[in-house]
Each structure stands twice: as C-alpha cells, then as structure tokens.
C-alpha cells in the first residue's frame, strides 16, 4: 500500500506519538522511545506491527514516542497515522 509521511497522537501522559513513513526495506521497522520501554517495549512493538498488518500495511518505518499508552490507544494512534498516510479509511476494511 502506498504511503506518505504522516503522524498521529500527542506527547501527553497516557498517549503515544506515532510517525509513519514509507520504507525501502521489507517489513515494519520500529524506532521506539518509551517511558516504560524496559517493561513493555516488546508488547508496544507487537501492537504496532499487528495493527499495521491488520490494516494491510506490511512495509513501513515507524518512530513511536510512548508516554505510557494503553494497547487500545496505541492501536488508535497507529490506525490514525495509517489513515492519514494512505488517505483511506483503512480501519473499516
């Protein structure tokens, strides 16, 4: 799926700021900065990757700045960034 650069979310407590960009490489590359990276880093990356795959996005570069977001917030912010990056309501498909 064709992507342009986009972002969603905020840097407020309980939120996550997601920047998405097209990638020349295969797969989803995630650069994660999180206040809870030690405890939940792998879970956050898993949620980001699964959300993108669910939306049909296999290749992308993600920069995520997490401030302790719940999984549902991560899914919402990744989806919003993906909708903005693709220009399509991908969450409904």
């Amino acid at each position: 799926m064709e992507l342009k650069e986009a972002f969603a979310g905020t840097l407020e407590s309980g939120d996550i700021f997601i920047q998405i960009a097209p990638s020349k490489n295969k797969g989803v590359q995630i650069d994660l900065d999180s206040t809870v990276k030690y405890q939940f880093g792998s879970q956050i990356k898993k949620v980001i990757t699964e959300t993108l795959q669910g939306l049909g996005i296999e290749d992308a570069e993600i920069k995520a700045t997490d401030k302790g977001a719940l999984d549902c917030t991560i899914r919402a912010r990744v989806t919003a960034a993906a909708v903005r990056a693709t220009g399509k309501d991908v969450w409904k498909d």
Binding site: G14, A69, C72
Partner: protein
C-alpha cells in the same frame, strides 16, 4: 426506573488518559465527546480513539455515551459509524432543533446496525441548545422509539436567547421546565446542562437542588469533583425514605381491604402521593442506601 442518570461526565474524545481513568470516579454515565472539545484537525484521530476505547476498556456498569458531530458536518456520519460499530449505548446529538434531525440520525444508526447485525441496540439522546429546539422539545422527545432523554445545553441556548447566564438561572427557567415537561410527557429522561465554574461549589449545589426540585433526573458534568454533590442531593434522606416506606406499606394494606385513599400521619394519601413515594424508594434502592430485603 430503568437506571440512574444523575451524573453524565463529559470526557474529551482526544484525551486517552482521561478516557482510561474516567470510570474510577463512578459517574452514572460517561460521555466521550467528539464535538466541541476536539479540534477540526483531530476529528479523525479522536474518532478512532473513542472507537478503540469503547471496544477495549472495561467501563463496568457505567452507561457509555458519545457526543457525535452534527450530521450536517463532514464528521457526523463517520462518527456514528465508528461508535455504533464499537457498541456505544447512547449517541448524544448536539444542537438538536427538529424531530427530523433525530430521524435522520436514527436512519444512519439503523444503516450501521443492519450492516453488523444488531438492529435496535443504540439509543439516542438529544441536546437542545436553541430557542427553536425548546419550542420543538416534545416533537424531538417523541421523534424516535430510540429516544432515551433530552438535555439542555445552556451556553448556546443563552447566546441564542440574547441573555446572560446568572447564578440564579432565571434565564433558563422556561427552557428547563419545557425540557422536563416534554421528557415526562414522552416517558424519557430529562438532563440538565453543565455548570462550569469549578471554584464555586456552593452555587453548584444550589443549582443541583434547583434542578432536582424542577424534576430533572440528572446533570451533565465537566469534572469528577461535581459527582459527590449531585449524588448527595439526588439521594433521598433517611427521613424521606422512612416516610415513603410508611406510605407504600399503608397503601398496600388499604388496597388489600379494597380502599384507594388512606390517611398517613393525618394527611390524605392518594395515587400521586404513592407514585412519588415509590419514586423515592426506587432512587434509594438505585443509590444503594436501602436494599430490597429492607422493604
């Protein structure tokens, strides 16, 4: 009484921290807002946050309401689709002026419910925020079988009325009474507007006492600090409960003997008094200050 709706707490739809904590304060209803508290640029992201929160967060027995954008905006229909698919209990329509607007929303809800196979699940409440809306209050209240309640939105109403808000609320009296009468005639809930000065809890309490006297079921709130005062005002006192229990017991005894009118403590008790006593007991039961066993 179907359920208590004393407190309906506004939570901005683009604030994940508030959305995940809101249930801690135990309001009767939580109203996630996609309208005025969300900027145009964030409408899409807020819609997705609310959709995911409704699907994931366990709000327990709290009624979940979402205030959508008007259908006349580019956001309204998308909001309806996202929140109905997420299983919202009630959609709150802002700035409702006519019954036709309610029916238009109902058609949108039905379209989504049919698609996902849950026809009839979503209720509607209408916020009335203009003089035209007040004039049409009964038509709005009866516009759909999905109508759960009507609420007053005082800021826009006062702007439209060309009146200033005052602590006494004189300027809102007609609107408030119209809302209560229309809601009661339609058999639905009547909900009052927000009180936005968090530094003046004394005036807030007076306003809550006033709307209770007028017959409202509850009030929209903007801060958890307001919950305790509303619950206190809306919970019957021990004395009121005892009086109500005496009346209900006396009328039951009288009915068993074939009489419809009795005297309790020297005062005539007939049907309207009994209805009020039963309502007091329902409120006390719902608030948990008495149990069914005690009756």
């Amino acid at each position: 009484m179907q359920r208590l709706r004393r407190t309906m707490m506004f939570v901005p739809g683009n604030n994940p921290a508030m959305m995940s904590d809101a249930m801690i304060y135990a309001p009767d209803s939580i109203m996630l807002d996609l309208e005025d508290s969300v900027t145009m640029a964030e409408k899409d992201a807020a819609r997705l946050l609310v959709h995911n929160a409704l699907k994931t967060i366990d709000y327990g027995n709290i009624e979940m309401i979402v205030r959508v954008n008007p259908l006349s905006t580019p956001y309204g229909k998308k909001d309806v689709e996202a929140v109905v698919k997420a299983g919202v209990h009630v959609i709150r329509m802002p700035k409702t002026e006519t019954a036709e607007e309610v029916q238009e929303l109902e058609a949108e809800i039905e379209k989504v419910e049919k698609e996902i196979g849950c026809l009839g699940r979503t209720q509607i409440m209408a916020a009335i925020e203009s003089t035209k809306g007040i004039i049409n209050a009964y038509a709005i209240a009866t516009a759909s079988k999905r109508m759960m309640g009507i609420a007053l939105g005082a800021e826009d109403y006062c702007a439209n009325l060309k009146a200033q808000r005052t602590p006494s609320g004189d300027e809102l009296l007609l609107a408030r009474q119209t809302i209560v009468v229309a809601a009661r005639a339609a058999g639905i809930y009547a909900l009052d507007t927000v009180y936005s000065n968090l530094n003046d809890m004394e005036t807030f309490r007076k306003e809550v006492e006033l709307i209770k006297r007028l017959g409202f079921d509850g009030k929209s709130i903007i801060n958890p600090r307001q919950i305790e005062i509303i619950n206190e005002v809306f919970t019957p006192t021990e004395k009121e409960i005892e009086k109500a229990k005496t009346i209900v017991a006396a009328i039951k005894e009288a009915q068993a003997k074939g009489s419809g009118v009795i005297a309790v403590n020297g005062k005539m008790v007939d049907k309207p008094v009994v209805i009020r006593a039963e309502h007091t007991i329902e409120l006390a039961l719902a608030a948990g200050v008495i149990t069914k066993e005690e009756l």
